[in-house]
Subunit: 277 residues, 6 copies
Amino acid sequence: MLGVPFDAGTTYQPGARFAPYHVRRVSALIQGWHPGLGVDVFRALRAVDGGNVVFPPFDRAAMRDAVQGEVGAVAAAGAVPVLIGGDHSVALPALRAVAAVHDPVAVIHVDAHLDTSGAEVWGDDHHHGTPIRHAITEGLIAPGQLHQIGLRGPWGGPDDGRLAAGHGGLRLGADDVAARGAAAVAAAIRGAIGDRPAYLTFDVDAIDPAYAPGTGTPVPGGLTSREALALIRGLAGIRLVGVDVVEIAPALDHADLTCHLGAHLLFEAMAVIARSR
Amino acid sequence: MLGVPFDAGTTYQPGARFAPYHVRRVSALIQGWHPGLGVDVFRALRAVDGGNVVFPPFDRAAMRDAVQGEVGAVAAAGAVPVLIGGDHSVALPALRAVAAVHDPVAVIHVDAHLDTSGAEVWGDDHHHGTPIRHAITEGLIAPGQLHQIGLRGPWGGPDDGRLAAGHGGLRLGADDVAARGAAAVAAAIRGAIGDRPAYLTFDVDAIDPAYAPGTGTPVPGGLTSREALALIRGLAGIRLVGVDVVEIAPALDHADLTCHLGAHLLFEAMAVIARSR
Amino acid sequence: MLGVPFDAGTTYQPGARFAPYHVRRVSALIQGWHPGLGVDVFRALRAVDGGNVVFPPFDRAAMRDAVQGEVGAVAAAGAVPVLIGGDHSVALPALRAVAAVHDPVAVIHVDAHLDTSGAEVWGDDHHHGTPIRHAITEGLIAPGQLHQIGLRGPWGGPDDGRLAAGHGGLRLGADDVAARGAAAVAAAIRGAIGDRPAYLTFDVDAIDPAYAPGTGTPVPGGLTSREALALIRGLAGIRLVGVDVVEIAPALDHADLTCHLGAHLLFEAMAVIARSR
Amino acid sequence: MLGVPFDAGTTYQPGARFAPYHVRRVSALIQGWHPGLGVDVFRALRAVDGGNVVFPPFDRAAMRDAVQGEVGAVAAAGAVPVLIGGDHSVALPALRAVAAVHDPVAVIHVDAHLDTSGAEVWGDDHHHGTPIRHAITEGLIAPGQLHQIGLRGPWGGPDDGRLAAGHGGLRLGADDVAARGAAAVAAAIRGAIGDRPAYLTFDVDAIDPAYAPGTGTPVPGGLTSREALALIRGLAGIRLVGVDVVEIAPALDHADLTCHLGAHLLFEAMAVIARSR
Amino acid sequence: MLGVPFDAGTTYQPGARFAPYHVRRVSALIQGWHPGLGVDVFRALRAVDGGNVVFPPFDRAAMRDAVQGEVGAVAAAGAVPVLIGGDHSVALPALRAVAAVHDPVAVIHVDAHLDTSGAEVWGDDHHHGTPIRHAITEGLIAPGQLHQIGLRGPWGGPDDGRLAAGHGGLRLGADDVAARGAAAVAAAIRGAIGDRPAYLTFDVDAIDPAYAPGTGTPVPGGLTSREALALIRGLAGIRLVGVDVVEIAPALDHADLTCHLGAHLLFEAMAVIARSR
Amino acid sequence: MLGVPFDAGTTYQPGARFAPYHVRRVSALIQGWHPGLGVDVFRALRAVDGGNVVFPPFDRAAMRDAVQGEVGAVAAAGAVPVLIGGDHSVALPALRAVAAVHDPVAVIHVDAHLDTSGAEVWGDDHHHGTPIRHAITEGLIAPGQLHQIGLRGPWGGPDDGRLAAGHGGLRLGADDVAARGAAAVAAAIRGAIGDRPAYLTFDVDAIDPAYAPGTGTPVPGGLTSREALALIRGLAGIRLVGVDVVEIAPALDHADLTCHLGAHLLFEAMAVIARSR
């Protein structure tokens, strides 16, 4: 587990740099046994908290280098890197590192947004709205294996979804999760991925702001916390080679709702990893 | 679009007078393309923000006159007035103005409360608990066309619902929406209204306070944000001639949850209007 | 109705001692007629607010003695005690008092947690994580009649649930309520209890922190407010001989969400009692 | 003591209607002995809490009638009315009632604002920015006996202060209190008033928003809490015939700062009354 | 430095058990060089963070035993114990431990309250309102050496101050600090103590709630943060043998004001200790 | 007046990018007449709100170019640029632009921090802790004309202040302002500057966090709001050629305290400019 205290890629409300601290704090309430999956997570994984990745808080290139280096070292050692962001721009160097070890991977991208913005939108190319575009164009995602869950809200235009759609994979909005059920969606993802190595990148704004108010670009109409947890739990059986939970902004949170939820999302993901061993 | 910064008709917690300001602020995150309905809302509508209606903030009669005047002018010009309240007492003059142009209209009233209080409850006749009573008694609502969605919570007595029930239309509580699904409820409303001109008055306390904490008279057990958005979206096909979203109280909000939700409710309603053109 | 302003049994975040005050405050929005169950609650029950039970705020033994005494007096008079906690350790003396009058009772325990911790966990035996263990070992719960609803989250180990499971009764997690529906769950509880006297102990952390942020040990993935209210309402027909709603911590609340919800949970429970008369 | 839960005279942020409730709540921390003035306040005064004045919450004229009636009854009985507002428009009917019994009185007006707005500012004549203008023009204030303390911030124009200045009395800004000291200012007021009957109207926005964040029209640079309390305490010796503390808006407060301060302001004023008996 | 996460001695609002965690968190902004006293605090002191004292969070007797044991070990080793409370009841066992090593000490007690309540006030003898009474009656404070600074607010009766006054020492209210200046007050304390060993017990409610909102029993009219820091800094020259900063309740704090202030109070005290070496 | 919505130079808590929006919002309460300086500010200045400077929110170099360009255009036109930051790194390009027109200027730097960090502290050279170092080394500040007011808190080492001290000018801590009075400090600054062109850069963390909680790196023991306003007001007579108010972080604010204060600081500065014309 690595923290990435970075939010200099944020287009709207910053603050995600403090998420590693606060998610760790509330994780004091988490115990080790997962009754649903029947596994003692911390013992099974021999999980290690590797502290935070270190870089100047406002230097995007330095962050990318540092994250790619540390995640690469973890992955090269045969361990599964689990990241607490930070904004979503931390996912790109993590994907680069993971793909360097495992070749292009399946990506489960849980998010309200497509994250495939063009460079022209903000006059700059590396921020929290572009990691999936870079990952596609750099060939980090296996063909047909970009699974986007939780999408909703208005777009800039009808072509916004074209790049992701062209790459192939599941594309299920928050309403689809409600209609089909989180377990069925997870089963569909499992079926599509099979035994490929998979990377889960979870932007908490996939979840409705009622459950996750502490995030910078909230979109109403999202997943419930129960759906989000069941979605990850339902992935048990696939081979996760990397995980990140991003975009938790504690200064916007209330009563640690989003931090507690982030800790539980990470616990579910670690239980999935534990079960696959 | 008109703001109505008025909350002098509030029986419990005031503050809705600041909603027009804050809903506009967070609407910076809204873009124009509605992927679900496939329409570029702002282009299709040639939407104009007409600013706020002007009146002394504590003068209920002056507010009613000003709103009726401005909404009437918009409706007479063939445009669709879209209001951001303000408390629910702003709906009455808007309905008067719309009915003056379109004759009695169907009303889709989404709310936790009946809003048909008698004059004796507060010793006064014009406040946020009476607009539907006035609209019925003034003949602004077409017979059989008062559709109330989201009702719940205790009443003063068994007769509270009598006036609305006697007028006719759908009456579906929050539990009914959960049981039938928001899309099915929307379809039922569409079926009942047909091609009549319809007015949507949406009190955010119809939504559960978890999703919409920024409101003055919260009632637990309400709609989810996903249901609320789907309910409006599902109206696509009917002929909306007026819309208001009321009772957002920013001072009680957290992390702009209710303001973001209000902006999205308005966007969905505008998409429905855009689709009917 | 009795308030128990006590939180000296709290292992994590205290503050529940102020719940009686604030739940009473927001109950100003509650009226008497229950449209769903068709009963005028306050008239049917001749409900009395007995004020708060009195004891030093940091003396756990004195609290237990005082609550057992006052609840016992209410129960002995043929009335139904309804408690506003306070943390969950107030339930044990209430159960002792009720069981002294009615013999061992069925217990409907709505909670995210098992509340059967061993003495060794905190080096102390009487706190908010142990009331159900004491109730079982003291014989206050009728055999096969411990119905636990809302469980979720990690445990210390696989044996955590053994004591409760061994006693017998329904054990349904928050996911089970979502899958089966709150009304069906309530019907199953009614079926299991039959005409036995029953005690409802409702820890608000059974509900998702989005709906009930004001609580000390939140666990994501819980019941919705609609499910929680429907669960209680669906008990109509059983014979409730005691009720508590516990673990509301107003200092952690926002916009009184949890306090409003607590008042409505109590209203639903009182409506169930009213219907059974 | 009378509460006046009214804020329908508010030009900016409403919410003062809940002040009577919350100031009473936190007054639980207040005990009876004033060590500085050496008096047991509640015993000396035989203070009675007369509850709230009753009127529809949005009817300004009804509020004025009701307050004038109740305050008049208290004053006529030889008791000293102590009001918790409510916005500042509650002061006018209280002054009318007091002046009806005591003839024109000296007024100690502690406030950031002049409260002498002209009718044309808001198109309406009775709101929280006009009570002092009405009191002057109605002859409720003895000539030369309008003492305004705490003034600061920008004005509409150089003539804003003319009406108050023309009436005569002390006019001391917040900076003057800092420069001279609160005790010296109080002594100057005592000297100016002598043995005349005096009415104290205390708008909490006289105090800096750091100490009193819960108010609707905050102005930085105000009194400290220590100065405010010392100012009132220093009035001991004059003959107070009425007191109000207004413009506390609990929804904007944090950690009850403003409510606690309001309770202490009232306690100091009651100690001053107790000492004059 | 030892944390004491304990608040089970709280009569009003609890929450101080989380202070050690949050004060440490914000101490990340503190650097080592004190420009005013010209000392590199951490190097001069070879300061060690000894973590938190361990005990069940609701067991007052166990807390006292554990604190006395750990503080005694620190003091016996010739080091100066510095405690972060916790509520004020943690001071008694610390004073017992310090007095066991150094004989009765001078006590600088900075607080809004006397903390000499009688046993009968709450029906219980060990809570945050009694540590000074116990310290006096147990002979832990050298005669004439109880210096109480920051007192204010109403008392239960004129005799409340008798016990402390009888013991002897300075008694200066918050108004006295304002009138004389914090540096002069510190000089007076230094003069009174001379070269005796001294213990500083600092309750943050000595400071005005505007500066320290995160505390359980706030009293308006307190010290400013500048006065509080200058008061401690001005003690440089005396021989501090123990320090505690207590009653910080993070859940009631805003923007970490009180936690930042607590960290700076501790830094000033450590600088005073560093200067005395 | 120009807004600079930038916080990508923040080392601790970000959020200052939203300050231009919120300071403008609350400025609705500001009127034009300054009673203390006797000037109608907006009329005298013919003030124009030039909107926000535009750049990608995470690109520090682009921000510097854009600010230097826009401020330079304002200064070249003979107008006085007034900036709302943004974090303190916006001051450097503003100083560059002003010095390009006016030659090296006197700088009045009101701040808790020196802002002369070395490049090695964060491994990066352009952030909110370095603008004064760059301004000195680039020769933007006239010799002997760096006046730093409000300094306090711990340093990294005794040499931290050397660079600023070597440049020459007044160096007055927050305690010095308290001891001498804000008006006297302002007079000293006026005396030191004479008729030189002067630039005022005001970091709100100079003010105590009780008055200005909405800032990223708070330091207890700062200026009061009254002192801060008086300090600026007291500059009347000098020739201000540029002003910025920086480091307001609205997400950390409460009840808009810091935003209101920021608006008043700007108003005072504009009044000083108006008086010098």
